[in-house]
Symmetry: C2
Amino acid sequence: MKTPFSTGRKPAFKNAVFALVIAALPLFAGAQELAQNIPVVSPEMGEDGTVTFRIKAPEATLVQLSGNWMPFGPDGNGGFAQQMTSLEKGEDDVWSVAIPAMEPELYAYAFMVDGVRTLDPANKNIVRDGRFSTASVLYVPGPASDLYWAKTGPKGSVRAVWYESPTLGLTRRMFVYTPPGYEDSNENYPVLYLLHGGGGDEEAWPTLGTAANILDNLINAGKAKPMLVVMTNGNPDQAAAFTVSPPVEVASAGIGGMASMQFEKSLVQDVIPYVEKHFPVKTGKENRALTGLSMGGLQTMNTTFENPELFDYIGVMSMGFADLSRFGINIDHSKREQQILALKAAAPKVYWIACGKEDFLIESVVTMRAELDKHDFPYVYRESPGGHTWTNWRIYLSEFAPMLFQ
Amino acid sequence: MKTPFSTGRKPAFKNAVFALVIAALPLFAGAQELAQNIPVVSPEMGEDGTVTFRIKAPEATLVQLSGNWMPFGPDGNGGFAQQMTSLEKGEDDVWSVAIPAMEPELYAYAFMVDGVRTLDPANKNIVRDGRFSTASVLYVPGPASDLYWAKTGPKGSVRAVWYESPTLGLTRRMFVYTPPGYEDSNENYPVLYLLHGGGGDEEAWPTLGTAANILDNLINAGKAKPMLVVMTNGNPDQAAAFTVSPPVEVASAGIGGMASMQFEKSLVQDVIPYVEKHFPVKTGKENRALTGLSMGGLQTMNTTFENPELFDYIGVMSMGFADLSRFGINIDHSKREQQILALKAAAPKVYWIACGKEDFLIESVVTMRAELDKHDFPYVYRESPGGHTWTNWRIYLSEFAPMLFQ
């Protein structure tokens, strides 16, 4: 994380030129940091697994660290929130805290500086989670995070593809992963359709989800079949992420029209036909898989209940038979029994349900399993530690992909 | 920018569920903001072109805004820095400033809260500029920024491609833009190789540079020929952006080995052969263009001086015959006269030099032009307002691309 400019230079002329050039190279530099020429290194990984977080805040009275490895708890206002750790002020107005023995993982964090949420100014690795959140990123290498990191060896490729969606009346963006060797091969590939959650968009799986690295690493290790992975935008009110294209008006139901069933229709009517026309893929249900998290889990259920003959591999992550009416999302449960029986008759090869023990939707998964059990619907259930988090969804992808197209 | 969750809900139970669910959806939420349930809207665009920036900072004594539309000036410490504007504290501890009549552009900005550089917590559109900087993004729509925005109509596609670089001993990542209609066409395309600047990486042109939108819009308007655009990583010490892959040791010269000439060699020996083997492209110098900004401008000069027969279209942005020895970058000027004459003999169709009037490297462009003039070397010179900025580089791309392959 250390920049190559960490050495102070004394002569006044050089300093002036130095500050000007450095300020001009990026969008703009943190002026005070440069002027004082004291680089803050954060996060810094020690050899014993301790990670030290630092931020220079001369005037602050309370600096806290909020990381996605910390538990949730009461926020003192009747709600729940991420718990935080306080930093201590040291020399040169630099606040710091050392977190011992951080497990290998891909983490997201931010500081709260006197109540202002502040990304780590010393860490240029930042990530956006859809419409709701931004964070600084920390990668702690090790066996448990090994799948998320690009390695030497053959690599797949991710492409942004714009396709026509007559169903939604939009030209929309999706990302398509093609496996190592794709360009030089005459093979046809099976396809995994991979859906993000509420508030997210088509950039979620390629960035937060590190989908390409996970697939590359599984495929290169012989643990997953070479496949295409199609990562759509699940919000029917968006052509693409809001950073690229503004939202449009839709007959809304819930967040961004997420319960309008319009995305599910466009997946079947627009996305799959586009992919099967424009890419060298195998068709038929035995060559199609669908999974998604949270809202994407709901969309996976909706799509496969409505179209039981489309997919042989179905994964529902962090979502069950939930009552989401408080979000304006009303699910038609009257057809459920009939849908379960129809999907059971279609006999998909894999129906996989994964949820974290501490997920706020775990009860909806209990309800879902009870319903499925009542109809002797075969499925595999995977319960993991943790909650409704990208840590879990990366793990779930790494476990689901190896089950496909075997 | 307003989230769909701006309405307060009173009953205690609902509030608890609400806070929990919202906190769980993103990576993690800004807990205090949620608990107090007062959404801050920032930036907010008025109909008269005024943009209001806001941040809630209850304890702060000085909140400033730093935007890349503001001029540079003395920083009070013997250096130069971006000038800043102060915000005023209003109700509910929200600081704000209204900037009147902002011209259509794609802007980058941040707050300084009591000296701490803080991205706008209310704006989830953030961008990273290489190793050096992060910023919040503001897009002001209008004629001058129209080229940077995705529109309806045919779209090209950007793909991440990993290729072998025996020259650097790395499997490296680049982005390749393919034009609208590419997937359904049997055409072969010419290729523009597009290089980023010092501190940047292969993600710079696809994100900050909005290269795909610019090309889509020019091609759809009939102003540029359909072409491929290859966006490499110009740092010989990187396989890919540091967010994806750690830097490696190289025989360094300057920042990340940028003056080692190793990137230039890999461009000629690895990148061009890969592209010409794996994509449907036209070969020969009349079908190749090369341009880059700052360090990429230097690499463009180096590559074309060393290989005068490779490119018919050459663009040097924001770089001239500069003395960069203070960065550890030593350029061999002894061959310059001979190189100029060799390139003149090869007679590229376009040699284009572009620089901002206020660019800190403008003197090096004056020197370069004097040298070229001395040898009657034909070139087109474009001097723009402004400095060493992405605003200029986006404009330059939109002006250079239409000159190519005509």
